[in-house]
Chain length 302, copies 2
Amino acid sequence: MNLRRPLIAIDWGTSSLRGARLGTSGQVLEARELARGILSVPPGQFEAVFHELFGDWLQSPDALCLISGMAGSRQGWQEAPYCPCPAGFAELGQHLLWLQPGRIALVPGLSCWGTDTLHTPDVMRGEEVQIFGALQLTGRDSALLVLPGTHSKWVQVQGGRVTRFQTFMTGEVFALLSQHSILGKTLDLGSAFDDSVFLQGIARSQQAGSVLHHLFAVRTLGLFERLSAAQLPSYLSGLLIGEELRAQTHAHTQHSAGPVMVIGSQALTLRYTLALQHLRIPCQSLGAEATWAGHFALASSC
Amino acid sequence: MNLRRPLIAIDWGTSSLRGARLGTSGQVLEARELARGILSVPPGQFEAVFHELFGDWLQSPDALCLISGMAGSRQGWQEAPYCPCPAGFAELGQHLLWLQPGRIALVPGLSCWGTDTLHTPDVMRGEEVQIFGALQLTGRDSALLVLPGTHSKWVQVQGGRVTRFQTFMTGEVFALLSQHSILGKTLDLGSAFDDSVFLQGIARSQQAGSVLHHLFAVRTLGLFERLSAAQLPSYLSGLLIGEELRAQTHAHTQHSAGPVMVIGSQALTLRYTLALQHLRIPCQSLGAEATWAGHFALASSC
């Protein structure tokens, strides 16, 4: 696969901004990572900030620029309406929001709809590019994927299109509990990850009952000195990631289209891989390379 | 049932302090409620604060004084070791920690042990008095009880003894999510309770999946304007209380010893009663009267 022109790929999130200049065969020529998430940009200043940060790259007259992530949200540069699922490259390409026709576009997020009485929507912004990148890199067109993070996404892909997905507030709930709850009083957040204690949390979370109950164990295991302050963050992480996996295990069993693909930072993919292996669910992991591969594949299709 | 001497009943919790002076047949002669929870008392000052607040009541030379709640914790007046379950009045009476022999005692909390590999403990302090009070008031000796709050307790009683219980962090998680999470940005915490939206949350929480996913609906239903900022707190409350009930419904089915007893403030017992009725689980509710009845019954047995 080759592009006829250079690509500027931007992943502009809530708290950080990453960019890469790609050559016509997709190779990364130069990459930048900046603490300039959309929350740091005053309304109306997105274009100016963007040119300030990437003006040198934009001097290439035939460059195409694709911007994914929260820059396309209501709080961002301009709102790019969600592309409804099922959605593949074609649908995503049709829903690009061109800021400069043929030159700079915002990649829309995806939406899907629940089967509950309120038809509750679910949404993502930015992850869709990583998903399609991962499919390209692995040559798969069906998969169950997880993108762990503040708001983890579990995604089903069939025939190259995202058919449905679910968001889990795992990362945010971990942060809230460890920083603001009574559990925070007894745990040492600076401690090293303990994989054996993490897996005890995973095992506990698979038992009958509720995560709202299991969480209280972090308090009592500390009070009764069964686990140390240094071990408790790993246990809490196991309980929460395990709850996410408990809910998704049946999806994998139903789906069963090869190993679960875990896409994210090294620290998080390590935890999910450990947990999935413990539950005897095959998996493979990918990192940041999925993002640029996704931008490149999208650029090739539009 | 009659006592031969007056009783001073104290429920000394983390953030508040309640006291009642009871007559020999258990009638409340005088009650006080003060914002003097144990967190407001400097170490070593418990006796002085107690005499400052209740010195007049203690002038009665034959009065017995029972103090339940967090005053008996490690952070309180003195640590009263937990009484292990199964425990009834007799066991609780044997585990009283006498601060002045025959005159002032701390009521111990209860502990029980999970069946997981870590034999995770669970604990309560203060609720045990309410539980035994509720049994006295209703004349029951077997029941499934719930005491909603920051940390809700679900309790099984058989033959007049607490056999096991589980803590759920429901109230604390509600507070964290509504005050510190991304969900807090779109909900109006000052709004009135909406029972129909609350029951939609209850219904959603009974569906397959995970509460970590269901919670994200509070965000998207707000974003897509399906529910208003005023309705979202009731929906969030329904999701969390519903998760607690989902985990306990089978306990009731197994147990099936008459209606579930809900003990707590009027605002919370209303919500639990609504939810239980919606799930066709019979229930009855009790308020603060259970606390004083428990102290009185305990005093009669010791």
